[in-house]
Point group: C2
Chain length 347, copies 2
Amino acid sequence: MKDAGVDHVEAVFVGNMIATEATGQGHLGPLLAGELGCGPVECVSINAACASGAAAVRQAYLAVASGQYRTVLAVGLEKMTSLDRSSLTRLLATAADAELEVANSATFLALNALLMQRYMHEYHVNRTSFHPFVRVAHDNALRNPHARLQESVSLESYLQARMIADPIGLYDCCPTGDGAAAVVLGRDLPARGAVVITGSSSASDSLSLQERRNPLWLHAAEESCRSALSQANRCLGEIDLLEPHDAFTVMVALSLEACGFAERGRGTEFARDEGIGLRGRLPICTAGGLKARGHPVGATGVYQVIEAALQLRGEAGANQVPGAAVAMTQSFGGTAATVITHVLERC
Amino acid sequence: MKDAGVDHVEAVFVGNMIATEATGQGHLGPLLAGELGCGPVECVSINAACASGAAAVRQAYLAVASGQYRTVLAVGLEKMTSLDRSSLTRLLATAADAELEVANSATFLALNALLMQRYMHEYHVNRTSFHPFVRVAHDNALRNPHARLQESVSLESYLQARMIADPIGLYDCCPTGDGAAAVVLGRDLPARGAVVITGSSSASDSLSLQERRNPLWLHAAEESCRSALSQANRCLGEIDLLEPHDAFTVMVALSLEACGFAERGRGTEFARDEGIGLRGRLPICTAGGLKARGHPVGATGVYQVIEAALQLRGEAGANQVPGAAVAMTQSFGGTAATVITHVLERC
């Protein structure tokens, strides 16, 4: 709020996935509004699994667009470190289909492993092909003091790391953690470094992978990206940077393909040849991504929007993408059953 | 959707409180949209504790008001019967303050018992005074085949019923259960019996009772009611019926007072003298209320809106309020830490 130059907000939208179980606190809106001294404002929690933070930003966006509010706060938060590993695994799996997937012992990790296995089989790529996603995220994180993992990952380390769920190795997964983030959205905010959301779209796909015609095609990502670009009146070539939902490396490849940045089956090739580093054709994960900045679920979608805003304001420090004017963020809930895409632009 | 005359919706907003724990299914939006065959539409879950259903209606309202959508679906749902009693008590308590209330062993019931005790002490009323709220809700439920409890409750039965948490007796509490409800909101819906939301407002109060200057004054109910009436350009005297959040009898008295229907401390007197039955000055709980229709948490706020719509359409059957033209619904999350008020009118 200080950064935005406002001392009052008219509503608070909170993105969160598992606080009810993780902390015994399910009614987060009034708690936050009370602690922040916001007065008797509207406040509500939004749950879209791992896309909860982005969903809070989007509901805040709709609330401002509705004309009922001029200035609102979108908060993403998650507390995960108080849970033991099996509780956390169980709770993260509530993002998947309880009857078709979880009842058959599929964890969230297992579902992504199946996707990666299938990807490698269908498109004839090996694990080495996914290394650029890891390298770039970790390199960017090294220059971000807020990132959780501060280490570079060589191809050798990547390939030799412990296997978690074949073919997903340790470095194919993002770390969870505690985290929180907030953005102010509004009409006519004080001018300093304001950024405009020119596209906002949320789309869905069947909750379970098995109900999809082709599990390697993220229909919701395609639809949500297409709609957000159309609202913004932009084409893919105008996007200067992308914050993808890189919870697992295979998801970055699938996201690039569904959005149309890369051809089908060529997401890893795009990363290798076109460049996803800060000076590449499409810089991604400029703050370290879910992969190395970390993935406190409810906070993540808000982190993405903040990083995009910092880039557009030219305040991204050592990770600044030169001349960034148009940014895209894309957040996934479950195995992309919910996908929320935002296009942000410099004023 | 059939009733609304639409075969397609552009977004689905789901109100739910505890499905993640009660069913292991936390990602309800895509599940519902998929089962309903809605296509890749936006879908998101809203949690505002016991006001979750009303919050879903409100987010749907904001989404239509934003101009992004013409036709959306608001769904409220809860599955509670699969939980044992202690799990349910624990989960319902996540609507209260985990650190200030629940950590001190306050259940949700206990907090309401403290409020009722304080009410009786401050305002010099006895338990008998609360009987009209029970009598009216149960009488209306007797004429509603969808109501959960189908029995009339005499003053004698009310007073002699088992004490649950002094002074809350069995008939002061609403029953939980499984339930679901849905409404279609939109611009330019097919004309048949359409109803207009002329006021929609959500307000909050401190999460814990102990942080409130006067726990007997529901500040969020006052604020939310005032704002909804102002949007609708209506005064209290024009409200033909009210659906209050009668989870506990004391909450009806406090709601009537905070909204201004009754003077401070005179909610029970209002019920006795002015009439809250179908032909009284302010009919309430016309479908049986939370008290007797039942309170499947996430569904309740949507039930309220549906009952208001049926009344305005003249389709409320044996419980029809003659000439109903303006209705108000009010839904509470926690001990009215979240309050959502809607004003609905006949076209």
